[in-house]
Every structure is written in structure tokens, then in C-alpha cells.
């Protein structure tokens, strides 16, 4: 899996946030649009695209998109 592709998939879960807002360093939980429902979309996307089920704590403990990417990569 590549971080570029992961960021594209990640950004797809947002409706209003501009796609250019997403980088490996983005602190995603600080985005205005972030909500618990976005979190569920992310979990579903990670299951569909990478066949990994992430836990609530994986999201809570990740600050940046790169952090979450690293957690998923380890479980693959």
C-alpha cells in the first residue's frame, strides 16, 4: 500500500474538506468536518481497501494520517 493512495482513499470519506488539505502530516481529527461518523467511514474504507479492521483506539491514538497508515501497514 502507498501513502499517496491511502490519502486519496482517506480524503474520499470527506464531503466538504478540500482534497488539498490532506497530507501525511494532516492532523485529521482537527479538521472541521471530522466526526464520529467520518471515523466509521474510515474504518469501512480500511476494511474494503486493505482488508484490515482497525480499532477505535487505533484512531484515537493516531494524530496524523501517517500515524494511521503506519498502524494499518503493520497489520497487513
Amino acid at each position: 500500500m502507498s501513502i499517496t493512495e491511502f490519502i486519496e482513499n482517506f480524503a474520499d470519506q470527506f464531503d466538504e474538506t478540500d482534497v488539498t488539505s490532506f497530507t501525511p502530516e494532516t492532523k485529521f481529527k482537527q479538521l472541521d468536518e471530522w466526526s464520529s461518523l467520518t471515523a466509521l467511514s474510515i474504518i469501512a474504507m480500511v476494511d474494503d481497501e486493505y482488508d484490515v479492521i482497525i480499532k477505535g483506539n487505533d484512531i484515537l491514538n493516531s494524530e496524523t494520517i501517517q500515524d494511521l497508515f503506519d498502524i494499518i501497514e503493520k497489520q497487513q
Partner: protein, 353 residues
């Protein structure tokens, strides 16, 4: 794999009772504005739920559901050989609620009654347990209740649960019948490592009720809970629900050589539309064969599957035999899937409390 086949038992009738009071998610005071409510409704599919008045218990709803079912079937309470009560919102810490209901329903004093404290997987587990007892042939008629008052053990100021859960009681009448029955097949599953995904931390023996456990705290912005209130960790439940139930249904299909093309109804625990649709698509069953009632009643835990059958499948199940799959999943974490046939089922009109 733990698999089970039960013979000689059929569903004779079903009924349900819901409280008259309806809470509309659109108007809940916990949201900043209606756009927030609309987002929740769009993603969960849940528009409203029925809610008991404080003081009304799941057993009160059960009384109405069972009385209606017996009347419509022409059964007497004295005919019942076995009565199982699937519920976690029990009337008292002791005794079991089924004992109190034996007297209230005027069941025989030699009736086999018991509680089954299951959550969302409860109707499927209950069918396997009561069905097994009946398959021996000496119990001829049984009632399986699946009931819950979810609004009473969750905090009304907890935005993560209030829009999702409702109250209901259902009753399923089972009879021993070697002629008109088909085998019922089951698969089971559990992951106790996830017990904190849905749980009430205080009020049991591990963490008894203390004055502190009754103090309401803001655990995260907009989420208020006491130690005795039910916690639902949405992200962990979601991760569980998109993985285990699909696998369970696939295992059921493979183990019992089920031709999915012949399935008439997929009956899912009504968790939320997003989760349930993922499960449905994973087993490639068309939308028109997958009834929902969560838009009207929310998640009513163990009562979800039978409430869907009573409120949405009355005519379908009254006719000739239908090939059904069901999957219940949730608190435990526990789940179970079953294959069964149902036809000529007497389904009562919905009862309101």
C-alpha cells in the same frame, strides 16, 4: 465449528408490543441544529424510536405481546410447556424475570421457565436453546420472548446512543411438529476480548454501585454518562460488525450447503443501515429480500429480528413456506446465524403499550 441442527420444531406465531411514546431523532434536544440530526439519520437509517415511560419495564411490554399472541393462536397460557425470556433489562436483580412472569401470565407451575440475558444475538441464541429443548418431543408448545428497554439503561444525554436505541418486546410461539417442520441450522460465535465494546461498567459484582458510580460525568464533548449507564463504543462495534457477522453467515452458508439463490428473507439484527447493508452485500442477497424496521423502531437489541418479522413480513410469512437466514450480533461480543423455514405463521397486529 460449533454448529447445530434442530428438527421437528416450527414457528407457529409471533407478536410484538412497543411503547406509544415516539421520540423523533430530528427533534432531539441533544443536537446543535437539525443538520446534525439529519446527518445521523442519513448514516444510520434510524429516524425515530419508541420509548417507555419511566417505571414501565420490558416485562410489562412482554405481558401485552404474549397475551395477544396466545389469543390470536387460540392457545391457553396453561398449554405452555416452556417459557424463555431473552432480556438484559430485568425487573429485579433477583429473581429471574421469567419467574415473575410465570405468575403474571398464569403459566403452569411445572412450566420450564428461565431468563437468557443475551443482547443483540439473543433471538437467534434463544431459538437454538428453546428449539433444542423442544426437539426432544415432550415440550409441545413454547414461548420465546425477546424484549428490552434500552432507553432506560442508557443516558439520555449520551449522543452516541440516544438516537439509535429503542424499546420493544416480542414473543415467538414455537411448537413441536414432525409433519410441518424443516430443520433449523445454527452457527455460533463469541469474542470476549471485546466485552468493553458494549458494556455497563458498574452495577454488577465486579464494580458494585457506589455513590460515585451514580455521578454523571461528561466523558467527551456532548457525551454524559454515569458509571451504571451502558457504554457503546461505536468504532469498535462497527469494526466488529462489518467483519464477524458476514463471516458467520458465510460459514453458515458453506457448512449447510445453502443455495443463496433460494433464500427468500435475510433477517438481520437492526444495528444501523450502514452496517446491515455491508452485511447484506457481503452475502449477495438482494435488497428486496432484506426487510428493515430500524427507521421506525431503532435498534431494539434482541427484539430486532422478531420485530422486523412482525412489523414487515406479516403477509410474507403468513403464506407458503419461506427460506430464511437470520444473523444476530452485538454485546458480548457475541453473534449467531441461523437458517430456517417459516410459513403459515400467525403474526399478530402490533400492540401498543
Amino acid at each position: 465449528m460449533s454448529q447445530l441442527t434442530i428438527n421437528n420444531v416450527r414457528i407457529a406465531g409471533m407478536s410484538a408490543c412497543v411503547p406509544a411514546t415516539v421520540e423523533e431523532n430530528l427533534n432531539l434536544p441533544i443536537y446543535k441544529d437539525q443538520s446534525e440530526a439529519l446527518k445521523v439519520i442519513a448514516s444510520t437509517g434510524i429516524e425515530r424510536h419508541h420509548k417507555v415511560e419511566t417505571g414501565t419495564t420490558a416485562s410489562d411490554l412482554t405481558m401485552k405481546a404474549v397475551e395477544k399472541l396466545l389469543e390470536d393462536l387460540g392457545w391457553q397460557s396453561q398449554d405452555i410447556d416452556c417459557f424463555a425470556y431473552v432480556c438484559t433489562s430485568r425487573d429485579y436483580i433477583a429473581p429471574q424475570t421469567a419467574c415473575v412472569l410465570q405468575d403474571r401470565l398464569k403459566l403452569r407451575s411445572d412450566c420450564c421457565v428461565f431468563d437468557l440475558p443475551f443482547g443483540c444475538s439473543g433471538w437467534v441464541y434463544g431459538m437454538s436453546i428453546v428449539g433444542s429443548l423442544m426437539s426432544h418431543g415432550t415440550f409441545k408448545r413454547a414461548i420465546l420472548v425477546a424484549a428490552e428497554t434500552n432507553t432506560q439503561n442508557r443516558n439520555p444525554l449520551d449522543t452516541t446512543v440516544r438516537p439509535l436505541f429503542g424499546d420493544a418486546a416480542t414473543a415467538t410461539a414455537l411448537e413441536f411438529d414432525g409433519q410441518r417442520s424443516r430443520p433449523m441450522n445454527f452457527m455460533f460465535g463469541v469474542d470476549g476480548s471485546g466485552f468493553q465494546a458494549v458494556w455497563a461498567p458498574y452495577g454488577g459484582m465486579r464494580n458494585p454501585v457506589t455513590p460515585e458510580a451514580l455521578q454523571e460525568q461528561e466523558v467527551s464533548p456532548g457525551v454524559f454518562r454515569r458509571g451504571v449507564d451502558m457504554v457503546v463504543n461505536g468504532m469498535d462495534v462497527f469494526g466488529f460488525a462489518i467483519k464477524r457477522p458476514p463471516q458467520s453467515l458465510k460459514d453458515l452458508i458453506a457448512t449447510f450447503n445453502i443455495d443463496v439463490e433460494t433464500v427468500d428473507l435475510l433477517l438481520l439484527h437492526q444495528a444501523n443501515k450502514f452496517i446491515d447493508e455491508k452485511i447484506r452485500k457481503s452475502v449477495k442477497i438482494p435488497a428486496e429480500k432484506t426487510p428493515y424496521c430500524l427507521e421506525e423502531y431503532g435498534n431494539v437489541t434482541s427484539a430486532s429480528i422478531p420485530l422486523t418479522m412482525v412489523s414487515r413480513c406479516r403477509e410474507t410469512l403468513a403464506g407458503e413456506e419461506k427460506h430464511c437466514l437470520a444473523c444476530g450480533f452485538g454485546v458480548g461480543l457475541a453473534w449467531a446465524s441461523m437458517e430456517f423455514y417459516a410459513g403459515d405463521v400467525k403474526i399478530s397486529d402490533m400492540v401498543t403499550y
